[in-house]
Symmetry: C2
């Protein structure tokens, strides 16, 4: 019996394969357009097979969202390691790499913050991934605080504001509300720099 690559799914990592296969479908057809049955036949398994790995469609979406949070966390820790002496740069790099990621993975970002699944009722995998992302970003802000950058403001407030800005900007990009910038990749970076500057120094001209 020739064991083709397709046959391998029968005892391969179907769970992971489903997550990977879901992402391009989400991008092209959206959440309602995603069909577990279609995914299953695409991967060469029966339409019942996915239910051995996810209780329902929503749980698969959670798993996709979790990958996004892990990316965000990874960007934060990488920025921390790459610029250990410069917490301000850490924040900028983490934010910029995340925005770049979102610009090519809108569908994941939409699942992370799009409210399709509320983190309140989410499963432990998603909850943990989200917590770790917040944790990693908080660490960067803490670095800045200990370097005396941010005064005595509350860390949580600083995290909320900076993540709000980064996430908000990424959402504008992914929602297509920034008519002009989308095409050139440099334009996105330039916009990030300008927004970062405003975030750092405030709207007010003091």
């Amino acid at each position: 019996m020739a064991e083709t690559a397709k046959k391998a799914y029968h005892h391969g990592d179907l769970r992971h394969a489903l997550i990977e296969a879901a992402i391009p479908v989400l991008r092209e057809k959206g959440i309602v357009g995603l069909s577990l049955r279609e995914l299953a036949t695409e991967l060469g398994v029966s339409h019942g097979a996915p239910y051995r790995h996810f209780h329902n469609k929503s749980e698969l979406l959670e798993a996709v969202a979790a990958t996004g949070f892990r990316k965000l966390a990874a960007y934060c820790t990488r920025a921390t390691h790459d610029f250990p002496q410069d917490p301000q740069r850490q924040l900028y790099e983490a934010g910029w790499t995340y925005i770049r990621y979102v610009s090519t993975h809108k569908e994941v970002a939409n699942l992370m913050f799009g409210g399709v699944m509320s983190l309140d009722h989410a499963g432990p995998e998603l909850k943990q991934a989200a917590d770790q992302a917040i944790e990693a970003l908080s660490a960067i802000v803490e670095n800045g605080k200990q370097a005396g950058l941010y005064g005595n403001r509350d860390t949580a407030d600083l995290v909320v504001t900076s993540l709000s800005t980064v996430h908000g900007l990424s959402m504008f990009v992914s929602a297509g509300m920034l008519c002009s910038e989308l095409s050139e990749p440099d334009a996105l970076k330039a916009l990030s720099v300008r927004v970062y500057d405003i975030l750092m120094h405030g709207l007010l001209d003091q």
Copy 2:
């Protein structure tokens, strides 16, 4: 023939009734849980009737999102009228009322920015509503610029940053990522004030 209120839908505003009926269903069961058929029977019409008013499910969702953008625009213009001499207060009031709206209408906000429909391919109704909201917010920022508040920075950058912050904060609230604050209504307002302060003066302690 007794013309009950239900019978009136036969020549009433079914389009508007569908939008109104969709909102609580979206809140409770989400986008995939929303069924045009269910909505139709709930309103006492056949399951084919909605298709006289919306080409498909997605178009109904767009209409719901448009109501949110109109709200945002309305908050901006109201804030402008309520505090004609204080553009800084205008920005705060518009942001705060919007956040309060989102805290009780997460489902609408998720449709506005959740990426379910990209504004690129959206219908004219949604596009126009979104444009008007941006317009109204831009006007507030322009007021501030003319009052000399924001220096010579680009208006678009200021708008993007402030709306990113407001929208990002509202998304945290709606996504349930702010574990502590959700319960007390005053806590949300207090958080808004603190974030607003950071937005105005910047993260840096200069």
